[in-house]
Amino acid sequence: MVSLKSIWKFLEEVKDPEVPVLSIIDLGIVREVLFVDQKAKITITPTYSGCPAMNHIEKDISHVLNTKGIEFVEVETVLSPAWTTDWISENGKKKLFEYGIAPPVDEPDKSILFAKPIEIQCPQCYSKDTSMVSLFGSTSCKAQYKCNVCLEPFDYFKCLK
């Protein structure tokens, strides 16, 4: 008999292919784990509607659980409740920063145009003197920033609520 706790543990080995330092548990996209009649049923939710990593993650989940001796795996994707960056674990945020991606910071109302930008810390030199280059970055979930002190460009994981 496989315990649910061990399945959650196994799932920590499944990484986000676009941010390989984060597991899908850190990312908060695993919503439910069930084990019934020798079959694991994993429910996940996408970060963004068009996230191209979802198919990859589904396959990785099956693969990892298969290697742990769980032969039958079903992965279901649900849209509701919609994912938010609040579900990224504290540990996940720490890992992001160490990896060079600034973790999400609570943002004021997005309807305010040209709002005073929020303070984002540079993951290279830790300065808070940074500026946004573009609201959109290398993946749907990130924006492009640059540090005004060390001049390094870096990714910021956008706040999504």
Partner: protein, 250 residues
């Protein structure tokens, strides 16, 4: 009722699909690298929304047409997108104005659809709304920069508004499909949505020192499958692979 729900879902899905395809044409052709990335990111969000909506439409129709078949194997008159989203990219100002009018409609629309009694549509709306808020911020800020920028950018973006404004009515086209679903609280009424749309558009245009055209030209027909000449060309490119190599996958 199922036919109407299918039709209604297709209209929302096709807006996302066709605009997503339009923006994808800019991949590698954006005016600057950051905007190339921004516009294709928005394209990706829209195609993701279209996938969710077409999968739902396919499940309502229940005729063994999956989301891919709906996306790639219909003929032009079966697409129910609004006329606005199929308009060509033109210059950067025109791409931004088209996006701005669309996002200004989509934000209040998804906000209202999020309370739909249809659980699937409500879930898709809530998900898509979060992305749409970023799109709207991006397109609104660009309209202001271009309008209140140089005389060249002002003149060009004003021209795009003069040309594209005539298609905004098609976003609010309402017929028996909408009315039946509004009475079931599945679809939101366009009345409040249009009010919010007008408010936002006018506020941004004022800030941008731009104005709406003087004429009252209105073009509609997209929701009934009556499209401008541009859609056929877009579909020819979008459908080419499936038509040339049926059922090919990658």
């Amino acid at each position: 009722m199922n036919n109407k729900l299918f039709e209604y879902t297709l209209r929302i899905a096709d807006d996302s699909l066709i605009l997503g395809q339009r923006l994808s044409e800019l991949c590698g052709h954006g005016p600057i690298l950051e905007e190339d990335i921004a516009l294709t990111n928005i394209s990706l969000d829209l195609i993701g929304q279209a996938t969710n909506l077409l999968e739902y439409a396919a499940s309502i129709e229940n005729k063994q047409r999956d989301a891919d078949k709906l996306a790639f194997l219909r003929v032009d008159k079966e697409y129910k997108n609004s006329l606005l989203v199929e308009q060509p990219n033109g210059d950067f100002g025109s791409t931004i104005v088209r996006q701005f009018l669309f996002d200004s409609f989509r934000r209040p629309f998804f906000e209202a659809l999020a309370s739909s009694t249809d659980e699937s549509l409500a879930a898709i709306a809530k998900k898509s709304l979060k992305e749409t808020k970023y799109h709207l911020k991006h397109s609104s800020e660009w309209v202001i920069r271009l309008g209140d920028g140089t005389s060249e950018s002002h003149q060009r973006v004003q021209k795009s508004i003069d040309v594209l404004w005539r298609y905004h009515s098609d976003l609010f086209y309402e017929d028996e499909v909408d009315l039946a679903l509004v009475s079931e609280n599945i679809a939101p009424s366009f009345k409040e949505i249009k009010k919010e749309f007008n408010q936002h558009v006018l506020a941004v245009l004022e800030e941008a020192t731009l104005k709406l055209p003087d004429n009252n030209w209105e073009f509609t027909g997209g929701r009934k499958g009556m499209h401008s000449e541009h859609l056929g060309h877009l579909l020819a490119e979008m459908q080419y692979m499936q038509r040339a190599y049926p059922n090919m996958e990658w």
